[in-house]
């Protein structure tokens, strides 16, 4: 098959969730299909500044065609339009403006889709919230397969225009059953054929438990891995953790590994490492007592899967239906919906190391059965094969 993958940014050095998912899928599709990535020259997901050269190049085994972004993002204008759209009071043109302000605005990519879209059997679009997908998918809807990466966030609640958008693709690929249900509820018609494929992980490398020389991590520790940001639930995590400290039965540190976009509390039990490389990340996952995932908005928590990949149990925000669903399906994590449950769940996992270990092992068994690349790609190939091709439809 001749396939294209449309994504807002793409590169071996880009770590975002949907970007990583797209790269993982594309690299494996390239083994059997003629595939091209259609993306932008942007690397920074805040400014969308052009950093990669426009035109054709290769990232690993995958050909990439890049289009320049015509303007960087105005954060103030974006904040203003977001406030309006998230309130649910925006008109349709205002909602469309949100997608334009969110960017990255690349009219060249849309022109390419208009001219050459029909040359592809299927065009896979990642993340409905970005310009390329929102404005590009309607141009090639008859051969478009959407990977929405939808979360229960204010955008999907406030932008009524998305209902119509979700009726357009020829097929959907979802990361979890909760995401599938969320999009189905927002669509005014039954969804086009869809499949929950999840995402793939390689087995954890043995012998990755030692920290690099010079890095001292207090043990035992609970781990947060990812961007340290109020939108990821970190503000509440700090509040809960520090409130729990004076009454905690045992001493434990909170290690935050990821770039910080917010002030970090100055407390001896909180250690913020900033961005960490692959070796430190692996060592942290191998040594953590448990992982905490405080985010309310997830379409699939890859970091939770990574913890289970290392046999580490987790404590997750139960107000996020995706995280709660993952915890229950895997029997690999406890969940909390308020401070009492957070404190009890944390204490319980630390006080019962055998049980915590068993939860971690159950998580690993779940990852082994559902989230290895061969299983993911088999589901994807079967799904693409089952879709009725646009050239054969009446």
């Amino acid at each position: 098959m001749k396939l294209a993958c449309v994504i807002h940014r793409f590169g071996a050095d880009i770590a975002g969730g949907s970007e990583g998912h797209c790269r993982g899928v594309a690299e494996r599709l390239a083994e059997h299909h003629d595939i091209t990535i259609l993306t932008t020259c942007a690397r920074n997901h805040i400014t969308w500044q052009n950093e990669y050269p426009a035109g054709l190049s290769k990232v690993g085994p995958v050909p990439v065609r890049r289009f320049p972004v015509v303007r960087t993002r105005s954060l103030h204008q974006f904040a203003e339009i977001s406030e309006l759209v998230f309130s649910g009071a925006a008109s349709e043109p205002e909602q469309e403006r949100w997608f334009r302000e969110n960017g990255p605005e690349t009219p060249g990519l849309l022109e390419f889709l208009e001219r050459h879209g029909a040359e592809y059997d299927w065009i896979l679009f990642w993340s409905f919230r970005y310009y390329e997908t929102f404005f590009g998918l309607p141009l090639v809807a008859d051969r478009a397969v959407l990977v929405p990466t939808a979360e229960e966030d204010p955008l999907i609640r406030g932008a009524g225009i998305l209902g119509r958008f979700f009726t357009l693709p020829a097929g959907f690929l979802f990361l979890t059953p909760e995401e599938q249900a969320l999009v189905a509820v927002r669509s005014p018609r039954p969804l086009a054929p869809s499949c929950v494929i999840g995402s793939g992980l390689e087995p954890a490398r043995p012998g990755s438990a030692a920290f690099p020389a010079g890095l001292e991590i207090p043990t035992p520790f609970v781990l947060y891995l990812g961007r340290v940001d109020p939108n990821k639930g970190c503000e509440t995590l700090f509040r809960h953790f520090l409130r729990h400290q004076p009454t905690a039965k045992r001493s434990v540190s909170l290690v935050m590994a990821g770039p910080a976009n917010m002030p970090i509390p100055d407390h001896p039990s909180v250690r913020c490492l900033g961005f960490v490389g692959e070796a430190v990340r692996e060592a942290l996952l191998s040594n953590a007592s448990l992982l905490i995932v405080p985010s309310r908005y997830e379409s699939l928590s890859i970091v939770l899967l990574e913890a289970w990949n290392h046999g580490v149990p987790a404590l997750v925000n139960g107000r996020c239906s995706v995280l709660k669903g993952q915890a229950i399906r895997a029997n690999g994590a406890l969940y909390y919906e308020n401070f009492d449950e957070f404190a009890r769940g944390l204490g319980y996992l630390l006080d019962h190391p055998d049980l915590a270990r068993q939860l971690g092992q159950q998580g690993l068994a779940y990852v082994n059965s559902e989230y290895r690349w061969p299983q993911v790609m088999q589901k994807l190939e079967l799904f693409l094969g089952s879709l009725s091709h646009p050239g054969h439809r009446r």
């Binding site: 406030e83 309006l84 309130s87 009071a89 029997n331 406890l334 009492d340 769940g345 049980l355």
Partner: protein, 153 residues
């Protein structure tokens, strides 16, 4: 709290046990702080908590009935976003320009400070609407039950 010999630990079962324990602790705390005497009955407390939990956790807060019954649904919402407009045909664009490009940047700190508090108030309002609706549903159910049990007159 759980059967350690079982080959698999069920997270749902564990969470039920934790929730039951915490409910007991919350009830004791509420009574110690002078909460309603009805909470001496654990069943009453569990029922009250159940109704409120349904409102807070299970309901779609965007699907409340109360705003739809108001004369104008918009009246129930806090307007957190800014809209710049003017009815003056000639000076209007100048006024909007001044507001957007001069006044807003100067006042942005105040706008952003208020915004967070408005957001919180909006969330509290939405939860209160959901609680009221949940109580009304409970009341309607009870009324029906009483009617059915009292039989035809």
């Amino acid at each position: 709290m759980t059967d350690r010999n079982a080959s698999a630990v069920s997270v749902e079962r564990l969470m039920h046990e934790i929730a039951d324990d915490l409910r007991g602790e919350r009830r004791e705390r509420a009574l110690a702080r002078g909460g309603p005497a009805e909470y001496r009955d654990p069943e009453i407390f569990a029922a009250v908590e159940g109704v409120l939990r349904r409102a807070v956790e299970s309901r779609d807060l965007d699907a409340s009935l109360i705003p739809a019954l108001l004369e104008d649904e918009e009246d129930s919402r806090l307007q957190t976003h800014l809209r710049f407009s003017s009815h003056r045909p000639l000076t209007g664009p100048v006024i909007i320009f001044i507001k957007r490009r001069i006044l807003l940047p100067v006042m942005r700190w105040l706008y952003e400070y208020s915004l967070e508090n408005f957001r919180r108030q909006q969330q509290v309002n939405r939860i209160l609407f959901a609680c009221l609706e949940e109580l009304a549903i409970e009341n309607a159910r009870l009324q029906r039950l009483v009617k059915e049990q009292s039989g035809p007159r």
